[in-house]
């Protein structure tokens, strides 16, 4: 009888451990898988004018493609940054300029999945944003700042088109709910 208690506990802990690890892997798998699925919706969105959802119950649609050529990054940007959308890809923050328009476009992404590459970018790096009409605009990273989301607000006002990429900071933190944000501001290059 005394032997059964540790046995049952070990069983429970094993299940929990596997479930947790699987959950963690699943987050990353979903992030990668979703990008692939959304890629198809993107092709359709590019072809036709109606916004397409990658799967019927999806509450977001692909808006643009974000490319960082030097890092081999090509990601599909979704509409409406919320916890659910961000699981599938970087997302456009509602209320900021639409990709392709002249204004401040703000994109959010998870620091440990899609936007993990941000820790390696530096001012001067190139970013390309392709909108749904196929327009490509080149940006160059201008500043990288760390802001406290409880206080800082991003001003959506600019003379030149600006792309702002936002992710959580620090990159290696265990706690996913920290207040700090890594803010990468890129300014559009004059069109050639």
């Amino acid at each position: 009888m005394r032997r059964r208690v540790p046995g049952a506990a070990a069983l429970l802990l094993t299940c929990l451990g596997i479930w947790l690890i699987f959950g963690g892997v699943w987050i990353h798998a979903k992030a990668a898988l979703a990008q692939h699925l959304i890629g198809r919706a993107w092709q359709e969105a590019r072809a036709g004018s109606a916004p397409t959802r990658p799967w019927p119950w999806a509450d977001m649609a692909p808006l643009a493609v974000l490319e960082v050529p030097d890092r081999g990054i090509r990601q599909i940007v979704l509409s409406g940054a919320s916890g659910r959308t961000l699981a599938f890809g970087p997302a456009h923050l509602d209320g900021t300029a639409a990709p392709g328009s002249d204004g401040v476009v703000v994109l959010s992404g998870h620091r440990d999945t899609h936007f993990a590459f941000l820790r390696d970018v530096a001012p001067g790096d190139r970013i390309v944003l392709e909108d749904r009409r196929g327009g490509r605009r080149r940006f160059r990273i201008d500043t990288i700042e760390i802001a406290d989301s409880r206080r800082a607000k991003l001003r959506l006002e600019s003379a030149a088109p600006v792309l702002v990429l936002v992710t959580c900071y620090p990159f290696d933190a265990i706690d996913p709910g920290g207040p700090l944000r890594y803010v990468v501001t890129a300014v559009a290059e004059p069109r050639a």
Partner: protein
């Protein structure tokens, strides 16, 4: 120990892992199955969640919050107490922070902010500006409903209301104290409801992320910016007004040059006044005027309030008519400075032209005249002032007729040109500035004026439905002149001749007020400014006890004037301490413009503001609800509330003669495009990290613990 029990236990971990794997695989497969291209029923447009778009995105309508207001003003003799309610309506499906820029009277002593949520009233507190902002920002980030009232200019305020629930509302209430104005026997109160977009000679530029944004800048350098609704959008921000008037003495007549009224006489000579239209658009200032059936020389009106052992006095004394000198006016030099900037476009420009033509007609042959018109740059009629003979006046008239409104509002240069050099043969130079005062750099302009004014006198004629009253009044005070406001086309003749009557006659000067205990008394304004015909002497003072005689002396032309009043006869009043404190704050801020130590001024103002609970440049009112309303995983978007353009105002590049680009520096602040989306901001609160790492680490820890337990069990078994 039966084997049948330990058998499943031994294989359960593997089974469990297998089940999870299968489940995971199924879940992973579910997504690709769903993604098969399938026609969707009524696809939602992507833009649905987007409510504010930058310039250049066609076909997207702005959905923005609206502020509905009511104002109740209780006038008792010569003081007024106003309660303004603002209801912030959020039409969006998301949490919103409403930011509303609105005017209040330039001498208002704002002392109350109340937040109403779920039937509860949360009283606001006065705190130092940065501290108030911090408290507000923390509450806003934490999902609590909160409001913050800040002073941008003495007559321009910003109300921020955080965490307005989706498709819902939040009510805030503002209270302020105000003195009644008296001029030529007419009493009036003004409730400003529109703000003319200001010209700020500074280029707008992207600044990226800033901690706290523009608020790090001193209040006076921060350009007041707010979206203005487009000319074809429906009117927004409705307002209802009610005035309860107790004039103290039998009422003569009562009218409003700005709005149609409904008047009901209540018991004992008090009146209940509402707007005939019920609710009006906030596109022009509300003005209420009344006269009293009083003798031509009314008795001094004294009101006293006792607060914390000190007596606060408000006195309004009209110098008797007989002391007004009627001597012929000495020859003078009249220089008209007329604003032809883009903000004057429309009715304002017509009013200014009419007023100027009328004024030219009143000049005598011995006078000298010149005109400076300005927008981006000043333009002079004559290189220097000329005799006001028929030829000069003809030239002046055709110059005025050709004036058209366009470009920036560079008042500074124009005034310096007008004030250049000494006036000829000892004449008095009178500079008459006709403008809507649509400038954002008041502080810089006023200190520039202070340096260049010399012996000249400056009179300001405020044009348009929402002139910048604070700037006009301060400029006239520095220039030892007077301010006149023209809001009604039909009044141009009467009001301009009244102003010229003033210009032509010397004023009551060198006024001194002698209180019973001069050392213990702080009287304002100090020194008492010159009085022009029809103006009463208005004094506020803090004194130990309201008893004894108050003696006033002054010089009228060549004679002397003396008046006295008994302080014991003062009637009890309310809110006078706050008016006195507000006047002292004004004086301290005035010292700042003349180069006093900024830290000392700040301390003095802070002391006054915190003691009397006032809103100033250094203090704000903040009210915070303790209960968090917004879930942490939902974002909040900041939305500047669009305001109505003042009646008769046309956007600078929308007018028939407007040239896009002329208003270069102001384009950011004034162009209708960016106006509809001026300085929106977003919060960065959306969490952008997954719990993947945490889950992985916890999972490994659990497995490790399980392994240890397993080993422990084996050892027990062995």
């Amino acid at each position: 120990m039966p084997r049948s029990i330990s058998f499943p236990a031994r294989y359960a971990p593997a089974l469990c892992a297998f089940l999870f794997f299968v489940f995971g695989l199924l879940a992973a497969l579910a997504a690709p199955a769903g993604s098969a291209p399938r026609p969707m029923e009524a696809p939602r447009p992507v833009e649905e969640g987007l409510v504010l778009h930058p310039p250049g995105v066609p076909g997207v309508r702005i959905k923005a919050p609206v502020v509905a207001g009511t104002a109740e003003i209780v006038v008792n003799g010569i003081t007024g107490r106003a309660t303004v309610q603002q209801t912030f309506l959020n039409p969006e499906d998301a949490w919103v922070e409403g930011i509303y820029v609105f005017p209040l009277p330039e001498d208002a002593a704002v002392d109350r902010l109340r937040l109403r949520v779920d039937g509860r009233r949360i009283e606001g507190v006065v705190a130092e500006r940065a501290a108030a902002r911090e408290r507000y920002a923390e509450a806003a980030a934490g999902g609590q409903r909160a409001s913050l009232l800040e002073q941008d200019r003495p007559n321009l305020f910003t109300m921020s209301v955080a965490n307005i629930p989706p498709n819902s509302r939040i009510e805030v209430e503002i209270g302020y104290q105000q003195a009644v104005t008296h001029q030529d026997g007419r009493y009036s109160i003004r409730f400003p409801m529109a703000v003319t977009p200001r010209y700020m000679p500074a280029p707008a530029k992207f600044r990226g992320v800033r901690q706290g944004g523009l608020d790090d800048l001193p209040a006076q350098e921060k350009p007041p910016r707010f979206p203005v609704r487009g000319p074809d959008a429906p009117e927004t921000n409705p307002m209802a007004i009610r005035v309860r008037l107790d004039p103290g003495l039998p009422l003569g007549d009562l009218k409003s040059p700005s709005h149609a009224l409904m008047v009901a006489e209540q018991d004992a000579g008090t009146y209940d006044i509402t707007l005939k239209a019920g609710v009006v658009a906030t596109d022009r200032d509300f003005v209420l005027e009344w006269t009293l059936q009083a003798p031509p020389v009314p008795a001094p009106m004294l009101f006293v309030e006792e607060v914390d052992g000190a007596a606060y006095l408000l006195a309004m004394i009209v110098p008797p008519q007989s002391h007004r000198p009627d001597a012929a006016a000495p020859p003078r030099e009249a220089v008209f400075v007329i604003d032809t900037s883009g903000s004057m476009h429309g009715t304002s420009m017509r009013q200014a032209r009419d007023a100027l033509l009328f004024a030219l007609g009143r000049l005598g042959a011995r006078d000298r005249v010149n005109i400076v018109a300005f927008s981006d740059r000043p333009r002079r009629l004559f290189a220097e002032s000329r005799e006001a003979d028929a030829a000069s006046l003809d030239a002046a008239r055709s110059f005025v007729a050709a004036l058209d409104a366009d470009g920036g509002t560079e008042i500074g240069l124009a005034l310096e040109q007008a004030l250049e050099g000494p006036a000829e043969d000892g004449r008095l130079r009178q500079v008459i500035l006709l403008t809507d005062g649509a400038v954002g750099n008041e502080a810089a302009l006023l200190s520039r004026l202070r340096r260049s004014i010399g012996e000249s006198r400056l009179f300001t004629v405020a044009i348009g439905s929402a002139p910048n009253g604070y700037f006009m009044r301060e400029a006239a005070r520095i220039g030892r002149g007077a301010m006149l406001h023209i809001s009604d086309m039909s009044q141009v003749g009467r009001q301009v001749s009244a102003l010229f009557a003033k210009l032509e006659r010397p004023a009551l000067t060198d006024i001194a007020a002698l209180f019973p205990l001069p050392e213990a008394t702080v009287a304002l304004p100090s020194p008492v400014p010159d009085l022009y015909v029809g103006e009463p002497l208005v004094l506020t003072a803090r004194l130990p006890k309201a008893t004894g005689p108050l003696v006033l002396t002054g010089r009228a032309g060549t004679g002397r004037w003396r008046g006295d009043a008994a302080l014991d006869a003062a009637r009890p009043g309310t809110g006078i301490a706050k008016l006195w404190a507000r006047a002292r704050v004004d004086r301290e801020m005035g010292r700042l413009r003349s180069g006093a130590d900024a830290a000392a001024v700040r301390l003095a103002v802070l002391d006054l503001a915190l003691r009397h609970g006032l809103l100033t440049d250094y203090t704000s009112l903040v009210a915070v609800d303790e209960v968090a309303a917004r879930p942490a995983d939902e974002a909040m978007a900041a939305r500047p509330v669009p305001v109505n353009p003042p009646a008769g105002w046309t956007p600078p590049d929308a007018g028939p003669h407007g040239k896009a680009g002329l208003n270069r520096a102001a384009a950011g602040a004034l162009s209708p495009h960016s106006a509809s989306a001026a300085v929106p901001t977003v919060t960065l609160g959306v969490p952008t990290a997954t719990p993947a790492a945490t889950m992985g680490i916890l999972g490994l820890l659990a497995l490790l613990a399980a392994g240890l337990l397993w080993a422990f069990r084996r050892r027990l078994a062995a």
